[in-house]
Symmetry: C2
Subunit: 415 residues, 2 copies
């Protein structure tokens, strides 16, 4: 079964907003075996919406539109779909009561503008949106189903997850698609390709491999669209096992896992605790770690020591070391890691200090120079890196590298 | 002049990667008056690429493809374009020397796989990519120009910014488009719409308004595609001025500015310094602040006190207060803010403490309850919020609200 996504919104076309809805919808469809054949982004114009609907590929059974359902004048999707499928806008009491209830939870009452959102095309079934004022809509024409969803990612995710995926699973037949993605850290794409060249050549027909590089990590995705999904899964699992043997601990996890989730699981298993002392990463590592629900069980906190004075007073780094070797040095980074470990009374601590850029570099320590240390119960390890000139990438790469060094140290730890 | 973007990659179609390249390209094209009429995302399949190229709208002069230029087997864009435009793959010494140079900077030498990236279609001009091994390509057919760019955002951004935009500005004529976006914080979309309803009705023909809501803030974009861009800019500026008068300090900035950038500018102007004490935001506020280049001038650091012990030992919060009122309380949040201000010797400090979720709520303090304080030289303010049940959104909304409270306090400050 084949799907298409049409994202409606000038803000996406002009690049002001990044379209995350399409990625979410595609991921969820994929997980139940539905392949997305095409995505389009078009303007908030009736003509563009109508043309995109006319141009849907002939094999497509599911069409999703996102955006243009808000209460304001620039939102024209509802009116356009009403015209396209024929009918009139009708007041829906159930949808209105939901709006009233939402406003009550914020101690407010709906205005006339908000009430207008309860008028829906007579040709659709509403897809009730309990967490927002824009109702989802379900149209049917021949064998094809059209779902119109709001542009707000939070609401679209809610509707897809709780309403549409369950409806599809119950009412429509599914195709077969199997993916498995292995996550690697610290080895560049072309080096990985060389390491696994023989294995890649041995992949059977019907199984494909994709390299998905992003700053600091490369994902390796195995896919099969074969008819017999049980057989395909077996083949993919066998190949994934071989890949794990070749790459060893370069692989840190699978599928949608993040490095910080993998670390959280290991820390809980080993009943160990963690803290960080961050200079160039500025709190980003703590943010990644605390993005994981339940992280308060093992994460005690961080000292972001952006100034030398904070390094000295809060982490007890020797001023002599800072003066003699600079804040970006092995001497200082080791004291920062040990300082955090002691101040937060944790088993492990991560420390980072570097020149994130765009300015602040010297000949000896150019922009992108970063020291990272991991202190544990048995030892401290410290490594120097040269990333690049881009501040955002330096912060991200430093954080991922630090988490990866920690992951390897935790593996060695016996509680 | 009209452009289209074709993003090539199964990883985008299946939702594993969010397409940020299109947004970047569109923003830069827009800034020189070129409108993006459509974007498409298609599979890594020769047939899909050929069909997308055939389907380009007749008015389109610029076509951008991204992705599929890597050194590995799943990258087929180069081969497909070579077939589509006719010709053969030819070794390009200049492109190869660039690859050799790149590898040297990492103390490595290119492999056979890397060398293969120096073979380019004879029908294209290379667009030299100094920061990556995949060369950009420029094809021409009739009046239409095609640019093929790598999927790695960092490299595509480099090529668009440094090579393609300058080339277009020099060689092709431009159309007219004027945008101006005002950024608001803390007022929901429908309330904003009511506040500015009369003003919105007074907008002259040819100027349109769009509401762009995202968690915690709403952007208001004024656009004109009129022929006379000087006249359009005048009209837009007049309307923006009126809007600023109506909304006052609800507006915190314009266009691509972030709250943390605006705060950075104010702090520098007033020669004031900042620190944070973060519990529920877990370092995210420090991360936002330190994302801004030059932030070390005014940001001294943060204590992320995820445990009560850290709140007591590092921020000197009274344990009695934690026991009597809980860590999420006015008493504790005020002590946290003042604690950070003193430990980091700063003029201002932000503190957050809340229940980010998904668990940890009580009847009295449900998930989403957050206390935020801002301590300054003259006073401490503290406010309680109820956000929602989603951890990620709670962290984001708390951070934006805290930055907005700080922004208003800095405005009042005379150094």
């Amino acid at each position: 079964m084949q799907a298409e996504i049409i994202a409606i919104g000038d803000e996406i076309l002009i690049g002001q907003t990044v379209d995350t809805n399409s990625a979410f919808i595609a991921t969820r469809l994929n997980s139940i075996g539905i392949k997305v054949a095409q995505k389009r982004v078009i303007a908030d114009e009736a003509g563009a919406i109508e043309r995109a609907l006319d141009d849907v590929l002939s094999d497509t059974v599911l069409v999703f539109t996102t955006g243009g359902l808000g209460p304001t004048k620039d939102d024209i999707t509802k009116k356009t779909l009403n015209g396209y499928f024929g009918g009139e806008l009708v007041f829906n009491e159930k949808v209105y009561q939901n709006i009233v209830k939402l406003f009550r939870s914020f101690n407010r009452t709906p205005s006339e503008i908000n009430r207008s959102q309860a008028f829906l095309p007579s040709s659709c079934k509403p897809v009730l949106n309990k967490i927002g004022t824009a109702s989802g809509m379900h149209f049917k024409q021949g064998k094809r189903h059209y779902f119109s969803l709001p542009g707000v990612p939070y609401e679209t995710e809610y509707l897809v997850e709780n309403k549409i995926i369950p409806w599809i699973s119950e009412n429509l037949q599914k195709g077969n698609v199997v993916h498995r993605t292995l996550l690697t850290q610290g080895v560049p794409e072309s080096e990985l390709a060389e390491k696994i060249a023989d294995w890649e050549n041995s992949l059977p027909l019907g199984i494909s491999l994709a390299y998905l590089p992003s700053p600091g990590l490369v994902r390796l995705r195995l896919s099969s669209y074969e008819e017999d999904s049980k057989e395909a899964l077996k083949k993919i699992n066998r190949k994934a096992k071989e890949l794990r043997e070749i790459l060893g601990d370069i692989i840190f996890g699978e599928n949608a896992q993040t490095l910080e989730e993998v670390i959280g699981i290991s820390l809980k298993q080993k009943k160990a605790t963690l803290s960080t002392a961050e200079s160039c990463t500025g709190g980003y590592i703590a943010h990644l770690i605390t993005s994981v629900p339940g992280s308060s069980e093992y994460f005690m906190g961080s000292i972001v020591s952006y100034s030398n004075r904070a390094k000295k007073e809060l982490l007890e780094v020797n001023m002599e070391n800072i003066v003699a070797h600079g804040a970006v040095s092995q001497e200082v980074i080791e004291q920062m890691a040990e300082g955090a470990r002691q101040k937060f009374h944790t088993d492990f601590a991560i420390a980072t200090s570097g020149i994130a850029g765009p300015t602040g570099g010297t000949d000896e320590k150019p922009v992108g120079t970063v020291w990272i240390a991991v202190a544990g119960p048995q030892r401290i390890i410290a490594r120097q890196f040269r990333f690049g000139k881009n501040r955002e990438r330096n912060i991200r790469k430093s954080a991922l590298m630090a988490l990866d060094m920690l992951r390897r140290e935790i593996q060695k730890f016996q509680s």
